[in-house]
Symmetry: C2
Subunit: 254 residues, 2 copies
């Protein structure tokens, strides 16, 4: 399930997206780019004759690999990225107005250079380099242009709740239960459980376990806490349950 990343290297382009029943046009100038989720209704028209638009197509899994650890530890990342990663069939794109940024330009050019020689069956390192460039691209964008992002497109009311809910679960991962989340958002447990399952493809229990285990791995690596302290810090009152979940996730006891 690929997602697109359109980068305007020279000239400009027009980007159309279906918003409710109408098409909405967004003009992209040189240096800007737009991140488009998979299966979105959209069209891109490159500007003049000498305009150059670069289309970078990523697998959702590559996107997830690159962002996952960041999303778990950093609050300043927009809910947009959570939505990209967890929501199915989102109809909202992210436009980033970078303008003339030499660094970004050189990353994209290097990437194109590498891409020309990197096909299936290419030498091992090529694939790794492409991933590296994707990380540089997003990393630099977040660092230098975080304030210059705009949403385009519409999301349904049901989709709009998801990132808020994910954030709530993540921020309260030591104490939340399905009951407490349902209460906080004024929904029944049954509805919430089905909603999370439908929108993210994962169960509430699995998401929570994922947040906790990433945090546990992080604490074990970066602190001198013993296992009882780690288990308690991430919200396990039962140490044997912590050991069991840890083993399920990482294949070894901590």
């Amino acid at each position: 399930m690929p997602m697109n990343h359109e980068e305007i290297l020279r000239g400009g382009c027009r980007f159309f997206v279906q918003e409710k029943t109408q098409d909405r046009e967004t003009v992209l100038n040189e240096g800007d780019f737009v991140i488009i989720p998979p299966e979105m209704n959209q069209a891109v028209f490159t500007g003049g004759e000498d305009a150059v638009t670069v289309n970078i197509i990523l697998k959702r899994s590559t996107f997830g690999d690159s962002f996952y650890s960041l999303l778990l530890e950093n609050d300043s990342i927009s809910d947009f990225f959570w939505q990209m990663l967890y929501s199915k069939g989102s109809n909202r794109a992210l436009v980033v107005r970078c303008g003339k940024d030499e660094r970004l330009r050189s990353i994209v050019l290097d990437m194109c250079g590498e891409g020309l020689f990197c096909r299936k069956g290419a030498p091992a390192g090529g694939n790794l380099m492409m991933k590296g460039y994707v990380m540089l691209l997003f990393g630099w964008t977040l660092k230098a242009h975080q304030q210059k992002m705009e949403d385009v497109g519409s999301i349904s009311a049901s989709e709009a709740v998801l990132p808020v809910m994910i954030r709530y679960i993540r921020e309260n991962y030591t104490t939340v239960t399905l009951t407490s989340v349902a209460k906080h958002f004024g929904k029944s447990e049954g509805y919430l459980s089905r909603y999370i399952r439908r929108e993210t493809g994962k169960t509430f229990r699995f998401l929570l376990k994922e947040f906790r285990m990433k945090q546990a791995a992080n604490m074990i690596e970066n602190s001198t806490c013993n296992m009882e302290e780690v288990a308690a810090a991430i919200g396990y009152s039962d140490i044997s349950c912590f050991y069991r979940n840890f083993k399920e996730s990482f294949g070894c006891t901590p």
Copy 2:
């Protein structure tokens, strides 16, 4: 558990490693680098007064994230990387003789520039960029210098078997059982089970499930096979067992 990556930017340096009971000296020239596993007995002495040595310290988990998908799909990667990732307390380093390589040099310089401003609490993108540079570094090295790698240091006979065994399990993941691996390597099942557990920290069952699930996710993303075909292709005769394992690994049914 950090691992080191020493890069010689200018001048040279001498690298000492304990080999059996003696120290062995390796001279590194400008442009060369050495990858040193965690907890190895070693020492590095930088050359002349104006020599510059760059020491890049990676968490094992960063290294794993960057390499994991590659290791599963590519056979041309040296067993060395498997050993780095799976073996505990390895005493073998990898020297890469890159010589004067402008591309590598510029990646390392960019990395240093970024590193100076990237501390804990630094803007979100910084961390991502560092990971990107690590991938570029290894990616480019694999692509351009795969033939210029030499092992330094000694490994015990017990360690030397591990990569061969991992490769055997990985290459025969559709059909292997603990019994068949034990038979192939002329060991008892009990010994093998304990050996794998001790050297990798994971059980045989978990390793095998990991190989199969990665392969399944790969097939689902890149082919049009239905679930029965995927399950059969990766060695599951029982589809419900496939569904259960998939759910354990990814939190959703396929």
